[in-house]
């Protein structure tokens, strides 16, 4: 279209118009996305906090604590050197349970799990927060789809013994699902890992709260 200037709509074929058009649209899109991000950032953060609160209340029963679970979490470093945020359930100043995220490597990427453990090292509850397992097969690890994950409630490192913390196919005590072994195996391993982490850091996890978190108006523990 070299002689475009002569035609009626010639200015539309000029390179400057095209560049301005594309640039203008990019600017407009960037502006819209910025506004969209600013407007939605706080509501989304609030919804995420609600989600975390809801998940935490499933693995740390409200009956065992009287504190705000999201307040003053502990940060510990795990064996691999990654920071791990630990939420604590307190009654008064005593730690009655802790909860933290862990993850296992499933069939289609990491499976994020929230595990709650009481002060004696028993599983209070476990919930899958995020995963990408095969729909209809591996997604039975979600509480919304199956009761399978409840099999961990009340279990500890001695119950079953450490070598039986595995799926049935690996001669362990936990069922796998029909057609899916890798997914439940990853979850069992992740929860076993969480219990081992708790055992390794038991003193820090259950005692430090008393020292570092004295509630201002509560009486001293002893």
């Amino acid at each position: 279209m070299t002689g475009a200037r002569d035609t009626g709509a010639g200015w539309r074929e000029r390179i400057s118009y095209q560049a301005l058009l594309l640039g203008g649209f990019s600017l407009l899109a960037a502006a819209l996305l910025t506004v969209g991000d600013l407007v939605t950032r706080d509501p989304i953060a609030a919804r995420r906090a609600e989600d975390l609160q809801a998940s935490l209340s499933q693995v740390l029963p409200p009956a065992i604590h009287d504190n705000d679970l999201l307040a003053a979490p502990l940060t510990l470093t795990d064996e691999a050197g990654r920071p791990r945020t630990v939420y604590r359930a307190l009654r008064g100043l005593q730690v009655t349970g802790i909860a933290f995220r862990t993850s296992g490597l499933g069939y289609a990427g990491p499976i994020d799990i929230l595990v709650g453990i009481d002060a004696e090292g028993r599983v209070l509850g476990a919930r899958v927060l995020a995963h990408a397992e095969t729909p209809g097969l591996g997604d039975k690890i979600e509480i919304a789809r199956d009761d399978w994950i409840l099999a961990f409630d009340g279990r500890s490192l001695g119950d079953p013994p450490l070598e039986r913390w595995a799926v049935a196919k690996d001669e362990g005590d936990f069922d796998q699902f029909t057609g899916a072994t890798i997914t439940p195996r990853a979850v069992v391993d992740a929860i076993k890992g969480a219990l081992l982490f708790f055992a390794a850091h038991r003193d820090t996890l259950t005692a430090a709260a008393v020292i570092t978190e004295p509630a201002p108006e509560a009486p001293l523990p002893r």
Partner: protein, 232 residues
């Protein structure tokens, strides 16, 4: 961007739902199709989200069509669609959070749906706003139809259920949709995995051709009506 003659609304609906169906006739959007149709419910969620984006992008692009030139139209389509999808994603995450938890997985996938770009290019950029939005709606519904059909077949063969998880998507009022058709079914893994999706899709495509041929034979006076069109 010359305007072609605008088809009647009836013809747009017929094209979108059957004759020129995104999947069955154009064989587009197979990536999101095969990825999410393990169950009918997931298919429905993906279909509805895609329909909303198709209708909105059709409307927007038809409104903007006077400004566009052929050299830069494709980047602008992509920009408009991607911005739209991202804004919908953010807004749903903030204000329809429960629905977003179910559909959130599918929303970024919509950007990868070439059918949206295809409709922008072949219809919305040449037509007035209302027919373009209606075309988006009908193309989206046609896509939803195939997603739900494919999801239902794969779910029945693969897990023996139908609309499992429907209350998560549609609320407890729709819990009756969730049925177990084959109790104590062992499951058939192939149907749920992507290769099974290809197999079932092949049968669906063959079924449409067969049906179209039957219809064409019945209407011998107008042999072209209902005959499968060549894919663009």
């Amino acid at each position: 961007m010359s305007n072609a003659a605008t088809p009647a609304y009836g013809q747009i609906a017929r094209d979108g739902l059957w004759d020129n169906n995104v999947v069955l006739a154009q064989a587009l959007a197979l990536c999101p199709l095969l990825a999410v149709t393990g169950t009918a419910t997931n298919g429905l969620g993906m279909g509805l989200a895609t329909t909303a984006v198709l209708a909105a992008s059709g409307l927007l692009i038809a409104l903007l069509r006077g400004l566009l030139t052929s050299a830069v139209r494709i980047p602008i389509f992509v920009l408009v669609i991607a911005t739209l999808v991202t804004l919908v994603d953010l807004a749903m995450n903030a204000w329809l959070h429960d629905l977003h938890k179910v559909l959130g997985l599918f929303i970024p996938l919509i950007v990868t749906n070439c059918a949206i770009l295809g409709r922008a290019e072949s219809f919305a950029a040449r037509q007035p706003a209302l027919p373009a939005a209606f075309d988006g709606l009908m193309m989206g519904l046609g896509f939803t139809l195939v997603l739900v059909g494919l999801g239902a077949v794969r779910e029945i063969i693969g897990s023996g259920t139908l609309f499992a998880g429907a209350p998560l998507l549609l609320g407890e009022a729709m819990a009756f949709l969730e049925v177990t058709l084959i109790p104590d079914y062992g499951g058939f893994l192939l149907a749920i995995l992507p290769p099974g999706g290809f197999l079932v899709l092949g049968f669906l495509l063959a079924g449409k051709r067969l049906l179209d041929r039957r219809l064409a034979e019945r209407q011998t006076r107008r042999p072209t009506v209902g005959a499968p069109r060549p894919s663009p």
